[in-house]
């Protein structure tokens, strides 16, 4: 357990605290954020060394305000310990540059566009569930949760679906490798280079001969009156790919563990599937997975704390989602909670552009699964590991059904 040291009139320091590796967080993720937030809603860590101070913001209100205030908190790097890395666009741009790329992406992920994919998403989830059901049980994470959004992403992007497992491995290397295991960033950079290489081939092919897929659509978008250049296009596709794979899959893992352990709630969703959309919002709040980072652009006082230009803030939505000041009875799952203004998709200009697709995929997976497999449980003696970092998730979820 990291000890708090509080010099007079200063923010508490948890020396060495790192949300990728903190043993308590890994052993007991959300209760640990709760305890840390109760002890001090803002604390600092020296894990970035003497380059800059890192401030962890654990309260809902501070997360919301910081994510909205892009002028004070820049997205120019979203790594908490900075390293050379494949840029992500538009995530790692600030307005007004950000706005141009965001405008090129938004119309392709708007609610009324995403809705047109519903039949395809439903057909895919049904066929994957049927395939998994025939096995009579197994690891939900690898057997369904990873396959479903990844296949959908590859189809929408016009990427080779038969290479799915390779794409999943690359995403995991980029997103899950702790900096402590990859101090020079080589592992993640290698995976990022492989992803960009594979994307570049497809981008070149679609430039020559457009198809009815998202890469073809993005190739035809314009920034400042000219087609998007290769480098920013790679940075956009790289972001969409990493954001599309290890996110819906992880929320599905948490949601199905919750449902396996709560048969009353499960029965309710089986009998009243019209409750699923609200329940999806509560799963998103209860099991928010993303932790993002911003760079402080000027000396400022925020959340009662003095920050210097160049410092970084860490915003764990998993902590914000359990803040009792925003959510009454935050550790109780209330399927029809209202209001439910969770920050699972962030806030401010960088709000997850794929949020509407994610919501649709989550809803359809819950609907199609429970039509086919209404009763299931966690396999006896199963050891379910959890990882925490820029995203959090379960490593496995062994399920059984009869």
């Amino acid at each position: 357990m990291t000890q708090i040291t509080t010099p007079a009139n200063e923010v508490p320091l948890r020396s060495g605290f790192d949300h990728y590796t903190d043993p308590e967080l890994l052993a007991d993720h959300r209760p640990t954020w709760n305890r840390l937030r109760e002890e001090s809603p803002v604390f600092t860590s020296d894990v970035a060394g003497d380059r800059y101070d890192l401030f962890y913001l654990l309260g809902y209100e501070d997360n919301l305000k910081a994510l909205q205030d892009w002028e004070t908190f820049s997205s120019r790097s979203v790594l908490y310990i900075d390293q050379p890395h494949q840029q992500m666009i538009p995530e790692e741009l600030d307005p007004p540059e950000h706005t141009k790329y965001r405008r090129a992406l938004s119309p392709h992920f708007a609610p009324n566009v995403v809705r047109k994919w519903e039949a395809d998403i439903r057909e895919l989830s049904a066929s994957l569930i049927e395939e998994f059901k025939a096995a009579g049980g197994g690891d939900f994470v690898s057997g369904f949760a990873n396959k479903f959004p990844t296949t959908m992403f590859l189809r929408l992007f016009g990427l080779p679906v038969e290479q799915r497992d390779q794409w999943i491995r690359w995403a995991h290397q980029v997103l899950r490798t702790p900096i402590s295991e990859d101090p020079d960033g080589k592992i993640r950079e290698g995976a990022a280079a492989a992803i960009v290489g594979a994307l570049a081939e497809v981008i070149a092919a679609r430039r020559a001969e457009p198809r009815a897929d998202l890469i073809s659509a993005l190739v035809q978008e314009e920034i400042d009156g000219a087609p998007v250049a290769d480098a920013p296009l790679y940075a956009m596709c790289f972001l969409l790919y990493t954001a599309g794979l290890d996110t819906v899959a992880n929320v599905l893992g948490y949601s199905f563990r919750h449902l396996a352990e709560n048969p009353g709630l499960r029965r309710m969703l089986v009998e009243k599937p019209e409750m699923i959309p609200d329940a999806v919002e509560e799963f998103l709040r209860f099991y928010s997975i993303a932790t993002t980072v911003r760079v402080v652009t000027k000396d400022t006082e925020f959340a009662g704390v003095a920050m210097k230009e160049g410092d970084r803030i860490v915003c764990p939505t998993s902590s914000a989602g359990r803040d009792p000041e925003q959510f009454p009875d935050p550790d109780t799952f209330i399927p029809d909670r209202k209001p439910n203004r969770h920050l699972a998709f962030g806030a401010g200009p960088h709000r997850c552009v794929g949020s509407h697709l994610a919501r649709l995929e989550l809803r359809i997976a819950l609907e199609e699964w429970h039509k086919r497999i209404p009763d299931y449980r966690i396999a006896d003696g199963a050891e379910i590991g959890e990882y925490v970092g820029s995203v959090a998730g379960l490593t496995v979820l062994p399920l059984e059904w009869s």
Binding site: L64, Q68, R103, S106, P107, F109, A110, P111, N112, P277, K338, P339, N340, R341, H342, L343, F345, A347, G348, P349, R351, S355, H356
Partner: protein
């Protein structure tokens, strides 16, 4: 009841439209279309639900 949307604050969560489709309309990018005016009595509850759902607090009901 009067509803005002601060479109400068809207970042396209689209929760207002999800909860109150008869009150809040979206543009082609999925962001709230400007609205500033009276809400018919039969839509008041919906309008309030949609406003309460906005994570950015971009909608004011008065």
């Amino acid at each position: 009841m009067k509803v005002t949307i601060d479109t400068a604050k809207c970042v396209g969560h689209a929760r207002c439209n999800a909860l109150a489709p008869d009150v809040y309309a979206l543009d082609d990018d999925g962001y709230a279309l400007p609205f500033d005016g009276e809400i018919p009595v039969e839509l008041e509850a919906q309008a309030r639900d949609g406003a309460d759902a906005c994570p950015e607090r971009a909608i004011t009901v008065s």
